[in-house]
């Protein structure tokens, strides 16, 4: 065959244009796609796999019930490598696919902060799990939170420690990342209304190999109760062991990571008799129980909040698209904001104007490794 200049040019043009053509064909394609930024490698790869399972269970249920707008729902996952640059890269890879109509962001607040500018630019709804209260106050209309934020967790920890356990002098230990700092601030701010004071506010950098100085500071502070915001389960495990070894036995109420499956495995008896605020507690509602059953069938272990929020997010995004009757971002956003009383695995969803869907937490207790539901504390949201 004679290769002419025209043939080469035509070939090049076809080569350059074809991905765009394929993409635009996909936009009106056979499935409705949701992009998911999730850790597959790095420090949170394990919890990432839980999140993926939660989302897949929801996907299956949505598709069994008829899908979205008559088409099957599809998940497109990208690895965030458990880093902020990785998350930004993963999101931009997904955002470059025009047929993706909505996204799932990260459970890590710091990563959501990193991706937020791009999320604003792309202008499509993003469900996320990070609990830094500031994330829904950025003026970014596309962010929808599928876990209660830490303004609530701080309030619940302070209220439970003060009113139920009767303790008044707090030591707060927290990661210095966005999640830990915001959580500790919310807890510290909630202490006065519960008649309590702050004896120690101690930050630490993620991935520490040793917590001796932190534990000694807690011991010396004279605190009668400990509140914690840990990001990584390995950190929590090392801290818990050293806390017990150095003889600190004061009551401990922790942020949700304290009841995570990985933390329970790593820390073992060091976490017995601790309390945790948990956005997901299997015995807290019928919806939570149903999710627990579905999850156990797949993973053979109990679920935790890593999977419950992605499950809820996929279900609710699909529901909003079906209610809106379109995948047009503005209409889906309005449908999300109009959701009232949806009973999800994490609790009852009522989105306020900031995009916060949940407004309370469960308190659970670690009884020899079993997580027992104690009570749920809900706050009345301003649904404006």
């Amino acid at each position: 065959m004679l290769v002419t200049r025209r043939l080469v040019t035509a070939g090049l043009a076809a080569g350059i244009a074809s991905p765009a053509l394929i993409r635009s064909a996909g936009a009106q394609g056979a499935t409705v796609k949701i992009g998911m930024v999730t850790p597959m490698t790095g420090a949170a790869a394990e919890s990432g796999s839980f999140a993926q399972t939660g989302a897949k269970i929801a996907l299956e249920q949505v598709n069994k019930a008829g899908g979205v707008l008559g088409k099957p729902l599809e998940l497109v996952m990208e690895d965030d490598q458990t880093t902020n640059p990785g998350a930004v890269l993963a999101f931009s890879k997904l955002a470059s696919q025009p047929d993706i109509v909505a996204f799932l962001g990260s459970i890590r607040s710091t990563q959501n902060h990193a991706m937020a500018p791009d999320m604003l630019k792309i202008g499509k709804p993003v469900g996320f799990g990070g609990t830094d209260p500031n994330l829904t106050k950025l003026g970014n209309p596309w962010l929808f939170r599928f876990r209660p934020n830490d303004a609530y967790s701080g309030k619940v920890i302070a209220q439970y420690g003060g009113k139920e356990l009767g303790k008044k002098k707090w030591a707060i230990v927290h990661s210095t990342d966005a999640f830990g700092t915001a959580g500790a601030k919310a807890l510290a701010e909630s202490l006065p209304e519960n008649g309590a004071t702050l004896a120690l506010d101690q930050g630490y950098a993620n991935q520490s190999q040793d917590f001796t100085p932190v534990v000694l500071a807690v011991r010396q502070s004279g605190a009668d109760i400990l509140g914690t915001y840990f990001t990584f389960e390995t950190d929590l495990g090392i801290f818990a062991r050293q806390l017990r070894q150095l003889g600190v036995t004061i009551p401990w109420v922790g942020s949700p990571s304290i009841v995570n499956v990985s933390a329970l495995k790593l820390a073992g008896p060091a976490l017995y008799n601790t309390y945790g605020v948990a956005d997901y507690a299997e015995d807290s509602s019928e919806a939570a129980k149903a999710f627990g059953k579905a999850y156990r069938e797949v993973r053979k272990v109990a679920p935790d909040n890593q999977s419950s929020w992605t499950y809820d997010a996929v279900v609710v995004l699909a529901m909003a698209m079906n209610k809106a009757g379109t995948t047009e971002p503005g209409k889906v956003r309005e449908a999300l904001l109009a959701i009232r009383g949806h009973k999800g695995a994490e609790g009852e969803y009522n989105f306020d104007k900031n995009g916060d869907g949940l407004h309370g937490y469960n308190i659970v207790k670690n009884e020899k490794g079993d997580i027992k539901f104690d009570k749920r504390i809900d706050f009345t949201p301003n649904l404006g």
Binding site: T41, S208, D210, P213, E233, I238
Partner: protein, 291 residues
């Protein structure tokens, strides 16, 4: 005073871990003049070997320990053949990049084979630790300190008083001269890689009960161990030990008395200070370019 003693014990314990990994850095640097950036991953892989043999396959702890170290020896040999040997006549840069690539490969291969779940490995002793007066002594840290001390002695004896040790030293000092004297240079370098992988693995197995077994455990320790190597003086065995211990103590006391969040900062501040004011490290000799 109680506080100081407790911090000192922890500092020496964590410093010994850095020192053990730093030893691996030094040995390979001495033999090949390059830094092996996969040294931390050796620790991680060994810890996962231990989990596989001891926890999953249920071998007795001592047997799992020996099999894991043999596994590390094999890994060291393969590493030498695949990562260093093909590039041995090139400058140091391609070799360093090759070791960085190998470190990524090892981490991701472990992730692919085992999965991302962190694991718990029990320690050598049933008793996790005991109180001496007001100071809590973690039995695993005690073991780490003892093994580090023992290795220093063994290493000194090995390099100074055995023929193999002397051959290794000769190889590291001048490969061409060593070859002319009939020392099998390639074999000596192979022995160094095997030994370094075993030492790195030993560090990983010893520290696993304290820090848990996870894919990223190697990278965190190796970074500090690398800093310890520079502080001690690259290429100096005693320096690596002193550098590791110093780093452990400095960061523990810095965290307790200045700032916990900036704990890692102290270690690297010391590193920068050494690079600026004494780049040859504590024990290193000033390198003068020959005319």
């Amino acid at each position: 005073m109680d506080l100081v003693l407790q911090l000192l014990f922890t500092g020496i314990g964590i410093g010994s871990v850095y020192a053990l990994v730093a030893l691996g850095f030094v040995l390979i640097f001495r033999a090949t003049n390059v830094v092996n950036f996969a040294q931390g991953e050796f620790s991680m892989v060994a810890a996962f070997f231990m989990v596989m043999f001891s926890v999953k396959l249920g071998l007795p702890y001592w047997l799992a320990f020996i099999v894991s170290l043999i596994g590390m020896g094999v890994l060291g040999a393969v590493f030498n053949l695949a990562v260093y040997y093909p590039l041995r006549h090139r400058t140091y840069l391609p070799v360093i990049i090759s070791t960085i690539g190998a470190s990524i490969l090892l981490a991701n291969a472990t992730l692919a084979i085992h999965g991302p779940e962190p694991e718990v490995l029990s320690g050598w002793f049933d008793t996790p630790g005991f109180l001496v007066g007001p100071v809590y002594l973690d039995s695993q840290y005690l073991l780490i300190i003892a093994v580090t001390a023992l290795l220093v002695v063994l290493q000194y004896w090995f390099f100074e008083h055995t023929l193999l040790g002397k051959k290794l030293q000769a190889t590291s000092q001048d490969k061409e001269m060593a070859a002319l004297l009939g020392i099998p240079v390639a074999l000596m370098i192979m022995v160094t890689f095997v030994y370094s992988a075993v030492i790195g693995g030993l560090a990983g197995i010893l520290v696993a009960p304290v820090l848990f077994v996870s894919i990223h455990m190697g990278a965190t320790i190796a970074l500090k161990a690398f800093a310890a190597t520079i502080i001690g003086g690259f290429g100096d065995v005693t320096g690596a030990i002193i550098g590791g211990l110093a780093l452990g103590i400095i960061e523990t006391f810095g965290a307790a008395y200045v700032s916990v969040p900036y704990k890692d900062g102290f270690a690297f501040l010391v590193l920068v200070a050494f690079l600026v004011f004494r780049p040859q490290g504590i024990f290193g000799e000033r390198v003068a370019e020959k005319a």
